[in-house]
């Protein structure tokens, strides 16, 4: 546990360095005082001519000789004789040298202190996170992630800055202050007493006044931490907030919190400056007393004027260190409070022993023999509700057990207890002879694999998350050479100095040999098989197809994809599906594509040619007019508007049919109705902006989709002619603005799917996409890019907590992540609750098969949500109200007139 006293904590971990830096500071005092004395020597000696009365007079320079007790006179260097001018330059040279030496000392001390602080900060932060990793599971019920992370990140930050000054500052500043005070005492005892009294008052009052500041500071810290917690709650609960329209409640809450923080800060400022005022006042009262009392004493003849001046001069040196010393103390208390606040939160009973999480590269298979069994197990939660009551349950090696029970029956809790997510209140869980809770996680966490209904995913790609469950220990360190080696050695050294572990995050953390593979690439087929088992392969394909592929990484895709266009079309023809894709052909109008796609015949890359803006592009408009299309498209847009208004004008604006209206929104209808009236009145004589608006309407028109009958063959021909004219005359600034549809080229601006289809899916066929998928799988294998595509899918970034995946995909991914681990025991706790029953059964069957591949025979306990699946298991355990009520084979239980039969018929 962390030491509750910050100074002691710092001392324990940095005493050697602290002593060293104190020694260096002490050493630095020598050149410092020398440099203070030197100006006097220069002025008095060479400049004013002291000791150089005779022009040829010389003085000894740099004589190093001193008298030592017992030894006598020691002369290290006899010095050289210099005349007045040489002496001036020599002494000035020494002055410059001392300035440099002083600067270097300062530089060294400051860097050293900074480094010291940062190392300690690193140590504290690591210790805190290490504690989080070792908290007992129940602790997390009352923790807010954002609050904890703001403690680790922000609240311990000032500790770093304080570390360097923790011992050096009081020693240095205290020494300076005492010296100045002593000097005053030497000059005049009464004035010394006055000064000491006032300093005493200052040192007594100011810290007391500042205590309130510390209290306020603590409040500020707490409110700021709570604010961080609330902000992250808003982020996590954003859907609930939207759904229940509570955004303004949240606004009010945040506003009131900010108000409190403001109030606290304002109080802090008021006090801070009041304290400052009093401090300054006390500091300046002293000279007042010098002038009045000292002057009086001088007039009385008890003090000579020279002494008074010397005292006042010496006093100048006192307030500075004193003030800094008081500030240092304030800072110390502040840091101490922050530190206590933080470690108070981290002082949790029942922290896991470090040994339980000790890193181990040894494999766990076969180390734990015997059944995973619960003996007289009871679980009561913090409210006193009984989850499990005196349960005896056993999962022998190699057996598959279905656990069934309604919600609240204890079935889920059984799985969670067995996987150490919940700790039992009484009874024991053992594997063979060993107590599960006494085993290191390197054994239990590898021998037992758990997947529940809610899985957490880390920020990263699908692949990162799939392989996450395999990263137990650094297996093989990467080999470093040259600079990288130096860098790595430095990293290691620093880690050890800061009490951090020195494992390399870039090492191989996966024991590939254990997985039966030589490297990651060799591991992938097993991973793909797991994806197949949980039927996630198709989703991965979708992700890959919808992504813009990084061609530098997958260069082979470029030509293969272009090749695939034809192969896919042939395959579709073979499957009697020709015409399912209408390809882009340079000389033909693609009826399944929109008008604008046919006009541009390419993907717009620059924003000025994108759908919304292109109509304002002067070059585009000029070619449109020149080709005689402007009027035709205007007429077409007008017809589209007429049709749309006829169809939709009677409907209320929120009617779901408006979703079908792709080219305008419900609230655009009145605008277009007005425009149409205006066109009819003026016989089409309207301004350019209105014309453009109508032309734009024509852009999204697809004849087979909208079926207004507006595209004639002549018009299609004209649009095809436009393409050529438009691309040939393209001005220089638009040269790269469009990427043409070229049957022989990969379109960088399109998704992989766009590139493979290279056309539009015909409206004529229902489920066109499904049918293409059906055919495409085979084609991809044929071309040898099936795995590449899967791999691209695995590179999909799943976002924070996997939120970019659907809940179904998340559950499947969690199950796949569990399946690819090689464990002796698998615990599944309704891992598929988000899936429909049919898919659940399919995935369950495939998963069991996957686990038993290559003759493996792990023990499996699966909490199933439908009693019908139970026949796939060797044994069935039925839970009700926290007790194990039936336990036996499927056949036995089906015979009995018990709860299982009831569940079966439900």
């Amino acid at each position: 546990m962390l030491d509750p006293n910050i100074s002691r904590y710092i001392w324990t971990h940095t005493k050697r360095q602290q002593l060293w830096v104190l020694a260096v500071v002490a050493a630095s005092m020598i050149p410092y005082f020398l440099s203070l004395n030197l100006p006097k020597q220069i002025v008095n000696g060479p400049i004013q001519g002291d000791g150089f009365a005779d022009p040829s007079a010389t003085q000894t320079f740099m004589q190093i000789a001193f008298d030592l007790p017992f030894i006598g006179h020691v002369s290290l260097f006899d010095g050289v004789d210099l005349n007045r001018l040489s002496m001036l330059f020599a002494l000035s040279g020494v002055f410059l040298l001392l300035v440099i030496v002083n600067g270097l000392f300062k530089y060294y001390i400051n860097t050293y202190k900074g480094r010291l602080g940062e190392r300690l900060l690193r140590r504290i932060r690591f210790t805190l996170v290490d504690h989080i990793l070792r908290f007992p599971p129940a602790t997390f019920k009352r923790l807010k992630g954002a609050e904890i992370s703001s403690m680790v990140k922000d609240e311990v930050e000032p500790l770093g800055g304080f570390t360097g000054d923790a011992f050096v500052a009081p020693a240095l500043l205290g020494g300076q202050a005492i010296m100045a005070l002593a000097f005053i005492f030497v000059q005049s005892v009464p004035l010394g007493l006055i000064t000491a009294a006032l300093v005493g008052v200052q040192a007594f009052i100011i810290p007391r006044m500042r205590r309130r500041l510390l209290v306020l500071g603590r409040e500020r810290q707490l409110t700021a931490r709570e604010l961080a917690g609330r902000v992250s709650e808003i982020v996590d609960g954003i859907n609930t907030i939207h759904a229940y329209d509570t955004s303004n409640f949240e606004r009010a809450d945040i506003s009131s919190r900010l108000g409190r923080i403001y109030k606290i800060r304002f109080d802090i400022y008021q006090w801070k400056f009041l304290v400052k005022f009093i401090n300054n006042f006390l500091a300046s009262v002293t000279p007042f007393l010098f002038y009045s009392v000292g002057g009086y004493l001088a007039l009385q003849g008890q003090l000579d004027i020279g002494q008074l001046v010397a005292v006042i001069g010496a006093y100048k040196d006192l307030p500075g260190p004193l003030k800094e010393l008081i500030d240092w103390d304030q800072n110390r208390q502040d840091v101490q409070i922050k530190y206590n606040q933080v470690i108070g939160q981290f002082a949790v009973d029942g922290l896991l022993e470090p040994a339980i999480q000790a890193v181990s590269t040894e494999r766990a298979d076969g180390k734990l023999m015997g059944p995973l069994s619960a003996i007289n197990l009871g679980v009561t939660d913090d409210t006193g509700a009984v989850g499990l009551d005196r349960v005896n349950f056993s999962l022998p090696p190699g057996e598959t057990v279905a656990i069934i029970g309604n919600a609240g029956s204890g079935a889920e809790i059984m799985a969670e207890v067995l996987s150490r997510i919940i700790w039992p209140t009484h009874g024991q869980i053992s594997i063979g002879d060993a107590d599960l809770h006494a085993l290191p996680e390197s054994l239990s966490g590898r021998s037992i694999t758990y997947a529940g209904p809610e899985a957490y995913f880390f920020f990263g790609t699908v692949r990162d998350n799939l392989l996450y469950g395999l990263k137990h220990a650094p297996i093989t360190d990467p080999v470093f050479e040259g600079d990288a080696l130096t860098q790595r050695q430095w990293e290691k050294r620093e880690a050890i100095w800061a009490g951090n572990p020195d494992y390399d995050i870039n090492a191989d953390w996966i024991d590939f040999a254990h997985q039966g593979a030589s490297d990651q690439a060799a591991l992938m087929p097993a991973v793909y098989a797991a994806l197949d088992a949980v039927s996630l392969t198709r989703d991965m394909f979708d992700l890959a197809l919808r992504s813009n592929v990084n061609l530098e990484e997958h260069a082979e895709l470029k030509s293969k994809t272009v090749e695939m266009r034809q192969v896919l079309r042939d395959a579709l023809t073979k499957a009697d599906l020709n015409g399912l894709i209408e390809p882009f052909e340079p000389g033909t109008y693609n009826t399944e594509a929109t008008v604008i796609e046919n006009l541009l015949f390419g993907n717009a890359r620059s924003p000025e040619l994108k759908a919304g803006a292109i109509i304002d592009n002067p070059y585009f408009l000029s070619v449109l007019k020149q080709q005689g299309l402007a009027d035709l498209l205007f007429a077409m847009g007008t017809e589209v508007a007429r049709n749309a208004i006829e169809l939709f004008s009677d409907l209320p604006p929120d009617h779901p049919f408006f979703q079908q209206l792709t080219f305008m929104r419900a609230d655009d209808i009145p605008t277009y109705a007005m425009l149409l009236k205006n066109i009819d009145k003026t016989k089409g004589n309207i301004n350019e902006a209105d014309r453009a608006m109508m032309i734009r309407l024509s852009f999204d028109y697809i004849e087979p989709r909208h079926r207004f009958g507006l595209l004639t063959p002549e018009m299609m021909a004209q649009i095809v002619a436009f393409r050529t004219a438009f691309h040939e005359g393209l001005p220089a600034n638009l040269k790269d603005a469009v990427e043409l549809y070229d049957p022989e080229q990969y379109m960088v601006s399109g998704t992989l799917l766009d590139n493979m289809l290279f056309g539009r899916i015909s409206q004529k066929y229902r489920d066109g996409v499904e049918r293409i998928y059906g055919v495409a799988g085979g084609v991809l294998r044929e071309l040898g890019i099936y795995d590449t595509l899967l791999s691209i899918g695995l590179d999909f970034h799943i976002g924070a907590g996997g939120k970019r995946l659907t809940s179904v995909q998340r559950q499947k991914l969690a199950l796949a992540r569990a399946l690819i681990r090689r464990s002796d025991y698998y615990l599944f706790n309704r891992p598929l609750s988000a899936l429909d029953t049919r898919t659940q059964e399919q995935v369950l069957t495939a998963s069991l098969k996957y686990l038993h591949r290559d003759g493996r025979k792990p023990a499996v306990a699966w909490v199933i949500s439908n009693a019908r699946f139970a026949n796939q298991f060797d044994r069935v355990a039925v839970f009700e109200r926290g007790r194990l009520v039936e336990d036996g084979s499927h056949a036995e239980l089906s015979q009995k007139n018990g709860i299982f039969k009831e569940l079966m018929s439900a």
Partner: protein, 155 residues
Amino acid sequence: MLLNDEVKMLKQVPLFAGVSPAKLKLLAFTSERVSYRAGEVLCRQGDAGDAAFVLLSGRADVIVDGPTGQIKVAEIEENAIVGEIAILCDVARTATVKAASAVEALRISKDNFFKLMSDFPEMTIEVVRVLADRLSQTTVELSEARSRVAELSKR
């Protein structure tokens, strides 16, 4: 085929006979126009029902999986509506519908179908009438089947 032609065809469907042409046009526009070749399946027994179909042209068979294999229970022709039961009672498809010839159909999604029913009560009545017809026909067939079973067991 254009929207206006589809409206003319929809006019022929008894279910929509009472609906004004403007609304039929809207129905046609918001529905999906789909074609099937002979042998292709419009919907499959056991799948979730998300749409009803109006046959514009062609014929289709209604097939049910029985204990002894597939049984063809009905044949539907153009201007018939099919698949509405699954979306009305929110159950899985009760039968498979397979195109017997080339079929042109309008696919009306569940949401749109409900919206239409609530907007046009005359359509709802028509749906009830069609369902009642089918029910009475089924009842007749059932009683016939029963009497035949009874006769067979007497022998």
